[in-house]
Amino acid sequence: MKNNLGREIFEQSKPYIRSDAFEQEKRRLIAKKTTDESVVFLKSLSEAIDKAGLKDGMTISFHHHLRNGDLVINMVCDAIKKKNIRNITIAASSLFPNHSPLVEYIKDGTITGIVTNYINGPISKVIAEGYLKNPLIMDTHGGRARAIESGDLAIDVAFIATPAVDKDGNGTGKFGPSACGTLGYVIPDLLYAKKTVLVTDYLTDSIVEPELDYHYVDYVCTVEKIGDSEGIVSGTTKITRDPVGRKIARDTVKILESLDLIKEGFSMQTGAGGISLAVVEYVKRIMIQKEIKARFASGGITGQYVDMLEMGLVQNLYDVQCFDLKAARSYRENRHHIGISASKYGNPFEENIVVNDLDFVILGATEVDLDFNVNVTTDSLGTIIGGSGGHADTAHGAKVTIIVTNLLKARLPIIKEKVTCVTTPGEDIDIVVTERGIAINPKRTDLIEILSKTKLPIMPINELMNIAHNIAGIPKKLEINNRPVGYVRYRDGSVIDTLYSVK
C-alpha cells in the first residue's frame, strides 16, 4: 500500500494525503483525568509501579527535558525488569544515547514497543536490527500531543521526571539540583495518562505557578537523583566555525533580508544545529544595526536567544524545551521567557498554535529530494539517527521554511532523487540553501519572483543535485531491506513513511 507521496506503508494504516488534510478532520479528545484524592508520596519506584498498577502489555511515558542527562527512564525500566513485567511500550518524547540500558530490555522482551519523536544512540541500532517486537512509531512533537489527547497513544502510567515538587504534589522544572527549565513536552502526558507519577529528587514547601498541577498527579516518588542537568546541553548548540556552514548561514540571511523577513515585530524559530545558530548570530547583528525588535522566538531555546531577550531584541521567548542551562536559568527568572506545552507549540488541532505564527523557520536535513521532501529521521543507509521533533510541525506552520544543509557531507550528496525516509513533506519546504546554490520550491512562485532579482545563486534543485554528483559521483543505490521495523507518523496521525531494518 502506498501513500500520496508514493511511499510504501503498512497495510490498513492511515495513509498520508497532504500536509493540510487534517483541516477536514474533527479534533478527537479523550477525557482528561483529574483526581480529587490527595497526592500520595512514595519512597521507591518499585512502590510507585505497584500502586499505579503497572502490568504486562501496558504503555508508560516519559519526557526528554533532561535529554542526555536523564536517569529516570533507565531507573523505571530497571524496576520493571526486576518485577518481571513484560511487553511494555515506552512512549518517550525522545530517547538519547544515555538510555542504552534499554537495549537489553528490548532484546529480552521487557520492552516490545516504542513510540517517540526522536532517537539518537544505541537503541536505534537494535531496532534497525529487528529486535523490537512491535513496529517503532516516530511522531512529531505536535503529533505526539495529538496522539495522546485523541487516545491514539493511550498512556497507562506517565513517569514524569520533575526537578522540584511541593508538598501538595505540584511540579516544576525551574528549581532543584536537576533543574532543566520548561516541561512543555510532558503536559499532554500529565493531562491524559491514566496514572501519573512525578519522580523527583527535590521536595520543597510550595511552588508558585507550577507547570505540573497536582490535580492531575497521583503519586510523587522521591529518588536520589533524577538526572544530570549538565546533560540537557545538546551537542549541537554551538555556532559553527566551519566556513562552509558560515557561507550557508550568510546566504540564508541574505534570503531573509531580500524577503523582508527581518523587520519590526517578526517571529522566528531555528534548530539547534551549528548553521542555524550562525544564522541567528547574523540576524542578531542586523537587528542591532537596524534597531529591529522581534515579537517572539520559539522552539527549543538556547542561550543565544536568551541573550537576545535580555538585550531587548526579542519581546518574548516561547519555550517548549530548554537546550542549555542558560535557557533554564532565564526561564526561571524572566517573565518574558514563557513555557508552552507541546500542544500549544505544534498540535495541528489546537487553536492559535505557536508554529502557525512563525514568519520563518530555519531547519536542517540529512537528505532532501527533488520533490523537496526532507529526511531528518535516518542517514543515507537507513539507520535511524534522529527524528522529526518539531521539524514537520514548524515546516507546516511557518510562512517561510528554509532548509540549511551542506551539499555534500562526508562525500555524500545530500540532494537525492528520493530521500531514504520522508520526515517532512516537500510541500511544506520552501527553500533549500547549500554552499553551492539555493533551490526554491517551484510552488512558491512569490519567493522565486523576489529572489530571482537578487544576485543569490538560485537554481533548480536537480541542478544542485547534479553539482553534487559532479563533485562526488553518483552514489550507488541503497539496497532497501524490505523488512519493516517501524513507521513515521505525520503530525495528523497519517503514515508518511516506513522504517526498514538495515542490512
Partner: protein
C-alpha cells in the same frame, strides 16, 4: 583588483574542493610553511591534478612555492605550473631571487606554451627585503607585495604584537612603494583566527596606512576583510554626487566648485572616480548609478 588573498594548504583536499565557495578574491595554494617536508610531494601532486580539473574558478589562483634558496622551489614550479595560475608567491624574497624566478618562469612558460605572463608576488619577510622594497616593487612581473610579519619580526628579533606597532614601518614602506609603482599592497595575515574584533581593527589600520588588500589564513576571516575593503553604500552615494557635480561644473568650465559647503577639486574628483571604479568592479553600481 583584489581585496582578499586566502592561504589554503596545498595538501588539504577538503579545502581545495571548497576553495571556490569561501568568497576569496584570490587564493594562494601553499606548498611552503603549511605543508610539512614529508607532505610536499603529495601536495604538489594534489595541486597539479586540481589545477588540471579546474575551470572558471571565480577567483585568482596563486601558488606559494618554497624558497628558491632550497631545491624545493624549483620542483614546486615544475610540478604545478599551469595556465590557470595567475602568479607565484615567493617567500623570503630578495631582488636576486625574484630575478631568478622570473627567468625560471620564462623557461616554463615557453616550454609549456603558456601564453600569459605569470606574475610574482614577493613576500616581504626579511629585513633585507624591507631594505630592497623600492627595487622589488619595480621588477618585471611583480604585481603586488605581501607583508609577512611573522617571519619579518622573527628576523628582526622583535616581539610580534596584536596592535602591530612593530610593523608600522614595513607596512608604510610597502604601501608607498606599491602606490608609486601601481601594484597591490597586501597586508600580513591576522593570526588569531578566533578574534573577529582584532581582525577588524587590524584590517582597518592596515587600510588606513595604504594597504589595499589583506591576506587571510582562515576562510572565516574573508567576510571581514572583503567588507572593509569594499566601498560602503554611503561612500558610493557620496562619490556619485561628486562625479555628477563635477560633470555639471565642467559644462561651465569650472575646475573647482563647492558641494555642501566643501571645496571639490581635481584630487577629490579622482578619488571619487577610483572608488566608483572599485564599486563597479564588485558589482555594486546599479544601472541607475551608471547613468
Amino acid at each position: 583588483m583584489h581585496r582578499s588573498y586566502l592561504f589554503i594548504p596545498g595538501n588539504n583536499p577538503a579545502m581545495l574542493q571548497n576553495a571556490d565557495i569561501f568568497g576569496a578574491d584570490a587564493v594562494i595554494f601553499d606548498l611552503e610553511d603549511a605543508v610539512s617536508i614529508t607532505e610536499k610531494d603529495s601536495a604538489r601532486q594534489l595541486l597539479k591534478a586540481y589545477f588540471e580539473t579546474l575551470s572558471n574558478p571565480g577567483f585568482s589562483i596563486y601558488v606559494r612555492i618554497n624558497a628558491l634558496t632550497s631545491s624545493l622551489g624549483v620542483i614546486d614550479i615544475s610540478m604545478v605550473m599551469n595556465e590557470i595560475i595567475e602568479g607565484i608567491v615567493l617567500p623570503k624574497a630578495t631582488v636576486q631571487d625574484i630575478k631568478m624566478l622570473s627567468k625560471l618562469l620564462d623557461t616554463f612558460e615557453s616550454a609549456r606554451r603558456i601564453k600569459k605572463k605569470t606574475v610574482i608576488i614577493p613576500i616581504i619577510e626579511t629585513a633585507k627585503a624591507v631594505f630592497e622594497i623600492g627595487q622589488i616593487a619595480q621588477l618585471p612581473r611583480v604585481s603586488a607585495l605581501l607583508l609577512g610579519a611573522e617571519d619579518l619580526t622573527r628576523d628582526m628579533e622583535i616581539e610580534r604584537t596584536k596592535n602591530g606597532l612593530e610593523i608600522q614601518y614595513p607596512r608604510a614602506k610597502i604601501a608607498f612603494a606599491c602606490k608609486a609603482f601601481e601594484i597591490e599592497a597586501i597586508d600580513t595575515p591576522f593570526t588569531d583566527v578566533t578574534d573577529e574584533e582584532g581582525l577588524e581593527a587590524d584590517t582597518l589600520f592596515a587600510k588606513s596606512m595604504g594597504m589595499n588588500a589583506k591576506s587571510a589564513i582562515h576562510p572565516n576571516q574573508l567576510e571581514t576583510i572583503n567588507r572593509l575593503f569594499t566601498p560602503t553604500d554611503a561612500q558610493i552615494t557620496e562619490a556619485l554626487r561628486v562625479v555628477k557635480a563635477d560633470k555639471e561644473a565642467q559644462k561651465v568650465h569650472r575646475g573647482v566648485f563647492s558641494l555642501d559647503g566643501k571645496m571639490i577639486d581635481k584630487p577629490v574628483v579622482e578619488r571619487a572616480e577610483k572608488l566608483l571604479e572599485k564599486a563597479r568592479h564588485y558589482g555594486l553600481l546599479g544601472d541607475t548609478d551608471e547613468k
